[in-house]
């Protein structure tokens, strides 16, 4: 009972003490505010990146496996993959034949070429050679116009489908359908525009909205087939276990590659999961470093609070003496100063969180989708209080240990 009243009173005392020194309190809080803004922004940005990445990678689909010459995520040395033979279009046909008609196999490759419409030029656009089956192995859908057809592929037609960003940049408000654009030196006719997909471009990953899709046959014809290795997107048939299917796929690939038993695979099978795993690993490290670095500013803020609390205790030595003389126990004094320092930090934390919302808003508008989540707010406020308690502890402890007579006679 008395402890509850004591806490309420200590709370009032702390508020009174803060009011008495508003200007100093604000300056002290500044360190905490900056620290909290830094930490919250880092966490929010990391969160935004992760969500953004997951969202855009999910375009790939969990039931789609990607056969490629070199794995997406390279562990170990790169050169061990260097002498692997390329994956060619005829390999793709053979794989499709071996796997049977229930399995969708789609060959793709990409290259970089300047894309031009009238005077608008986009240097280094990503050109994807693919087939009509692209729509079956990804969640990509044309927004208007149409996607590539088997007919386009078979007859190497010079047609293309634009990602939504490409359309914006090349055509603005003009209807792109049936307009001719130049990809490298070749002319292609625009037949469709894809829906917005979101981008993992921030990590150097694919930006699905900045791609141009052309028939894989036209792709080979215009951009060459020499030293070109395709990736095969293979969609597991409905109802099969993806892991089982991966073994089957590997087996068929080994046949195509004519690998003897015991020989190592000279191709790679990639999944969205492996990309996500790699991403999460990197993100975890980035987040740790980010929080550690921003944590330093919070630490500096905490040191500032500790400093002010030492000043506060010294200034109020006499007050401490009076309080002790009329019956304040050590714990009461300790509590009083701990509460004061945690409230300074909590106020700073709250202001910091409020500012972080503004910063997150700016990031959201200009860099990538990001928003301050409730758990982050909770963590930030908890951390503020913890910083307050830690940085207030030594001064408060010192205050509580003062001898009443010495404190009373302090000038």
């Amino acid at each position: 009972m008395s402890r509850i009243h004591g806490s309420v009173e200590a709370f009032k005392i702390a508020i009174a003490a803060l009011r008495a020194n508003t200007a100093r309190g604000v300056l002290t809080t500044l360190g905490i505010i900056i620290g909290i803004v830094a930490v919250v922004t880092t966490m929010t940005a990391a969160n935004g990146l992760a969500n953004n990445f997951r969202e855009s990678v999910s375009v790939l689909g969990t039931d789609v496996l990607y056969v490629s010459r070199v794995p997406w995520v390279i562990q170990g040395r790169f050169f061990q993959f260097r002498n692997r033979p390329n994956l060619e279009l005829k390999d793709c046909d053979e794989l499709a034949r071996l796997l049977g008609s229930s399995v969708v196999v789609n060959p793709t490759d990409d290259t970089r070429r300047p894309v031009k419409y009238l005077s608008e030029v986009i240097e280094n656009a990503t050109i994807i050679g693919t087939t009509d089956k692209h729509m079956l192995v990804s969640s990509a859908v044309p927004e208007y116009g149409r996607f590539l057809t088997a007919y386009d592929v078979r007859f190497k037609r010079p047609v293309c489908v634009l990602g939504t960003t490409m359309r914006e940049q090349l055509f603005g408000d003009v209807d792109p359908i049936n307009k001719n654009i130049k990809i490298g030196r070749a002319e292609f006719r625009v037949i469709g525009v894809m829906e917005k997909q979101g981008s993992a471009g921030f990590f150097g990953g694919p930006d699905f909205d900045s791609q141009v899709f052309v028939p894989v046959t036209s792709f080979v014809k215009e951009f060459g087939s020499r030293n070109r290795s395709f990736a095969f997107a293979v969609k597991a048939p409905r109802g099969t276990d993806v892991t089982d299917f991966e073994y089957e796929l590997a087996g068929e690939m080994r046949k195509i590659r004519r690998l003897a038993p015991g020989e190592e695979d000279n191709f790679a099978i990639n999944k969205m999961d492996s990309l996500l795993d790699a991403f999460n690993n990197v993100m975890g490290v980035v987040l740790m470093i980010g929080v550690a670095v921003t944590g330093i500013s919070l630490f500096v803020g905490g040191v500032g609070v500790m400093n002010i609390m030492f000043v506060s205790v010294t200034e109020r030595t006499r007050e401490i003496g009076i309080r002790k003389a009329i019956g304040a126990k050590r714990r009461a004094i300790l509590q009083q100063f701990l509460l004061e320092s945690s409230m300074i930090c909590l106020v700073g934390g709250a202001i910091g969180v409020a500012l972080s919302f503004a910063v997150a808003e700016a990031i959201d508008r200009f860099v990538l989708p990001a928003s301050v989540s409730l758990p982050i707010v909770f963590i930030a406020l908890t951390v503020s209080v913890v910083v307050g308690v830690i940085s207030g502890f030594i001064p408060a402890w010192r205050a509580s240990r003062l001898h009443p007579i010495d404190a009373l006679h302090y000038e």
Binding site: S2, A16, R323, K324, A325, I326, G327, A328, I405
Partner: protein, 229 residues
């Protein structure tokens, strides 16, 4: 018996030189006594006051307050005893400058862990007793010296202590105000309180019924005066 000292000694260690502030002091003070402790500076009077007020403990000897051997208590127990049994009035008032009259008077009750409603009632009563009911929300710097000392007296009374311990209570006041404050003490005594005045002024000491003179760490004289005051 309210308090009893038995051959109390206090030795301070000042830069490894032992200073004997008290060298065997014994006396008893009964309920409702009005005692002046006198002595020049350096006599050990302040040390004696600190021990009686439970701000310090004797190096040797026994101090019994309401029958409890206070000398063996740790700091937190001493704080409790001060809170329950001692009412301090200091020469320099020692009020909390940033708090109003009410909060200053209420403070001992907060540390006693009393409920707010009860606190308010007791604090208002104590403030009324020293005639400052209309100054409840004033801060110390808005009050005269005499009024401040009245606030301090109200604070010392509010927890209904066994002894009121006043250390040169008129030392910072002009003689007229000082006389008014002494009247307050006289009244409190007539109402049954035990009062110990620490002073070096004879005319203040004359208000008391008993005069204990300290010199060089020892009791020089302990005289019960006639009812002259």
């Amino acid at each position: 018996m309210t308090l009893e000292l038995r051959s109390v000694e206090k030795i301070y260690d000042m830069n490894s030189v032992a200073v004997h502030a008290l060298r065997g002091v014994s006396f008893k003070i009964a309920r409702n006594e009005y005692v002046a402790i006198m002595g020049p500076s350096g006599s050990g009077k302040s040390t004696l006051m600190n021990i009686i007020g439970c701000l310090d403990v004797p190096t040797s000897g026994t101090y019994l307050l309401d029958g409890a051997d206070v000398g063996s208590f740790n700091e937190d127990r001493l704080a409790e005893i001060r809170n329950e049994k001692i009412g301090f009035v200091f020469q320099t008032f020692n009020l909390l400058a940033r708090s109003d009259v009410f909060h200053n008077v209420e403070l001992p009750l907060i540390y006693a862990g009393m409920r707010p409603a009860k606190r308010r009632q007791l604090a208002e009563e104590a403030i009324a007793r020293v005639g400052l009911a209309d100054r409840m929300t004033h801060r110390p710097n808005e009050l005269s010296g005499g009024q401040r000392q009245r606030v301090a007296i109200a604070r010392s009374l509010v927890n209904n202590p066994s002894i009121l311990l006043a250390d040169e209570p008129t030392g910072n006041l002009d003689s007229k105000t000082g006389a008014e404050i002494m009247e307050v003490f006289d009244t409190l005594h007539s109402e049954g309180n035990t009062i110990i005045l620490v002073t070096h002024e004879d005319h203040i000491a004359r208000h008391a019924q008993r005069e204990i003179r300290i010199f060089d760490g020892l009791i020089e004289s302990d005289i019960v005066q006639s009812e002259a005051a």
